[in-house]
C-alpha cells in the first residue's frame, strides 16, 4: 500500500505545529495543502504565502520579498524537496550523474540554496522513498544540510517526510533519526528502501492516520484553497 494524498497532507501539517508564518514555494501542492490544513486545525500557522497565488500572497515587492523576509527572520517554516536527498540532508534539485552530461536533469535549485540557510524550520518532503531518491550522497548539492560553524546559518532541515515514514534531523549530529513509520510500512522496509544510514530509537511509533474531521477539512476548505494555484492537483484530491 502507498500513501494517500490526505495522509501525507495531514502528516506534513503536523510538522507545522508552532510555526506561525509559513511560506510555500514552487511545485508544492502537498506542502501548500498542509499549510492550509494546519491553519484550519489551529496548529500554529496564521500567515501563509503561496508562490504563484494571488489570494494567499501579501508580497508587494515582487519575487525578491520572500527571500528578503526570510533573511529578516519573518518566515518560520518552509518546505523543500529533492530529486535526491542524502543522509546529511543535502538536497539535489538539479541533476543525476555528471553535471555537464547528466543522466537526468530537473528544473533547478529554485531558492533552496538560500532559504535552507535562513528559515528556521525547513521540512523536507519526498513521497518516493527508495534507494534512488534517498541516497548516501547526492550527485549535486543544491543546498547543504549542515554548514561549518563559521557560516551564518539560522535555518536548516528539521524533518523529512516520505511515503513510508517521518525522519527528524539532528543538526548537531548531522543525521536523521527515524521518528515514525507509516501504518503500511515497517522499520525493516524503511531500512531496505533507504540509501543512507540513520538512527533508530528503541521505540518507533506508527504515524497517526488522519481522523474524520481532518479528512473533511482536506476535502473541503483545503482543496478549495489549493485549487487556485494547483487546479489539477485539487481536482484529483
Amino acid at each position: 500500500m502507498s500513501a494517500s494524498a490526505p495522509f501525507l497532507i495531514a502528516t506534513l501539517a503536523h510538522q507545522l505545529a508552532g510555526s506561525r508564518r509559513v511560506a510555500v514555494g514552487a511545485l508544492s501542492p502537498m506542502p501548500g495543502s498542509a499549510a492550509f490544513l494546519a491553519r484550519a486545525q489551529g496548529l500554529g500557522p496564521r500567515q501563509i504565502t503561496v508562490l504563484g497565488s494571488r489570494s494567499n500572497n501579501d508580497f508587494t515587492e515582487g519575487g525578491r520579498e520572500l527571500f528578503d523576509r526570510a533573511a529578516q527572520g519573518r518566515i518560520d517554516a518552509f518546505f523543500l524537496g529533492g530529486a535526491q536527498i542524502d543522509g546529511g540532508a543535502n538536497i539535489n534539485l538539479v541533476a543525476v550523474g555528471d553535471y555537464a552530461h547528466p543522466r537526468a536533469r530537473f528544473p533547478g535549485s529554485f531558492g533552496s540554496s538560500y532559504l535552507y540557510f535562513l528559515i528556521p524550520r525547513v521540512i523536507l518532503f519526498r513521497e518516493e522513498h527508495t534507494p534512488r531518491t534517498l541516497v548516501e550522497k547526492v550527485d549535486f548539492i543544491s543546498a547543504p544540510g549542515t554548514s561549518p560553524a563559521n557560516v551564518y546559518r539560522p535555518g536548516g532541515p528539521a524533518a523529512l517526510v516520505t511515503g513510508r515514514c517521518v525522519f527528524a534531523f539532528d543538526r548537531a549530529k548531522g543525521r536523521f533519526r527515524l521518528e515514525s513509520v507509516h501504518p503500511w510500512s515497517s522499520i525493516e522496509e524503511v531500512r531496505d528502501e533507504t540509501g543512507f544510514a540513520f538512527e533508530v530509537p528503541a521505540e518507533v511509533p506508527t504515524t497517526p492516520e488522519p481522523d474524520a474531521a481532518t479528512l473533511a477539512l482536506i476535502a473541503g476548505p483545503v482543496r478549495e484553497q489549493i485549487a487556485e494555484t494547483y487546479p489539477a492537483f485539487a481536482a484529483a484530491l
Binding site: G62, F117, Y152
Partner: protein, 270 residues
C-alpha cells in the same frame, strides 16, 4: 509614446542579446515570443527572473538559445520543460544554474549602479562550485564570516507582458515589482500590454504606486491576450489544454518542430 507594431518592437531584439524574462505567474510576453520565433533571432542568452517555463522551452526547442541562466525551468503542474531537459542532457545549450535570490540581487546591483552585491546562503553548494563568476570573501565588517558576492547582471533587454500602458508610455504593473527590477536593470525594455489606459496613470494616486515610469520603457505593443496560453491574472487563466498539447508534442524534437510550424502558421493566419 505611440504603441508599436509587434514585429517592429520585437525586431529590436538582436541575435546574441541577453533577454530577461519573468516567471509564468507574472505576465509573460508569449505573443512577442512567437514573433521572436518568426524573426529567427538566435544565439540568445535567456535570463529567467528567476524561473521560466513554456517561453524558454519554446525558444530552446527552436534552437534560438545559446545560454540559459535560471534558478529553474519548469512547466509547473504540467511537469518538466521537455526541450530544456533534452538540451541540457545533450549539451546543446550552456546552462548557468543560479538560485532565485541571486538573480534578484544581481539585478538589484544593476539598479543601484553597483558592481556587485553580497548575499547570504549558497556556501557549500554545488551551485556556487559551478559559478566561476561568483566570489566568496570574508565579511570586512565581521569576524570570520564568509559571504558570497554576485556580480551585477545588466540584461540587454527586459521583455514582459503587463496590465496596461497610458498615452505617455507609462506602464501599470501593480505589485509585480520584479518587472520593475528587470526594467531598471536592463538597457532596454519591451512590454506588451493587455489594455490601453485613456489618460495619465500618474493622475490617479491609487494607480501611481503601481506604475513603471516611461523613463524605463522603450517599446510598447498593445496585445490583448498577449500572455496566452499562460495566465494573465485578472483577465484569463492558464490554458492547460493548450499547454498539455505542447507537452505531448514537445516530447521529441520532431514533435516539437511540427508543433512549432503549425503554431506559427496559425498565428500568421490570425
Amino acid at each position: 509614446m505611440e504603441p508599436l507594431a509587434i514585429d517592429e518592437a520585437v525586431a529590436r531584439i538582436a541575435p546574441g542579446m541577453m533577454v530577461a524574462l519573468p516567471p509564468e505567474y507574472c505576465g509573460v510576453a508569449m505573443a512577442a515570443t512567437r514573433e521572436l520565433l518568426h524573426q529567427g533571432t538566435g544565439g540568445l542568452h535567456l535570463l529567467a527572473v528567476p524561473q521560466s517555463g513554456l517561453q524558454a522551452d519554446m525558444l530552446i526547442g527552436a534552437g534560438r538559445v545559446a545560454t540559459v541562466e535560471a534558478a529553474a525551468i519548469t512547466l509547473g503542474e504540467q511537469g518538466p520543460a521537455p526541450r530544456f531537459t533534452a538540451a541540457v542532457k545533450s549539451g546543446t545549450i550552456r546552462m548557468v544554474d543560479a538560485t532565485c535570490p541571486a538573480i534578484h540581487a544581481a539585478l538589484q546591483a544593476s539598479e543601484k549602479g553597483l558592481p556587485f552585491l553580497p548575499l547570504r546562503g549558497i556556501l557549500g553548494s554545488d551551485v556556487l562550485a559551478h559559478r566561476g563568476d561568483w566570489r566568496v570573501i570574508d565579511n570586512p565588517f565581521g569576524n570570520d564570516d564568509p559571504i558570497v558576492l554576485l556580480p551585477a547582471i545588466r540584461p540587454d533587454v527586459a521583455l514582459f507582458h503587463c496590465e496596461m500602458a497610458d498615452s505617455n508610455g507609462n506602464l501599470w504593473i501593480g505589485r509585480r515589482r520584479e518587472l520593475a527590477t528587470m526594467a531598471h536593470a536592463s538597457s532596454m525594455t519591451i512590454a506588451t500590454v493587455e489594455t490601453l489606459y485613456e489618460g495619465d496613470l500618474f493622475a490617479d494616486e491609487t494607480l501611481a504606486a503601481g506604475v513603471l515610469p516611461a523613463a524605463y520603457v522603450d517599446a510598447i505593443v498593445h496585445v490583448p491576450r498577449g500572455a496566452w496560453p499562460l495566465a494573465m491574472p485578472g483577465h484569463y487563466e492558464r490554458d492547460s489544454a493548450a499547454i498539455a498539447g505542447y507537452v505531448a508534442a514537445a516530447a521529441s524534437a520532431g514533435g516539437f518542430a511540427a508543433w512549432l510550424a503549425e503554431h506559427l502558421a496559425r498565428d500568421e493566419a490570425a
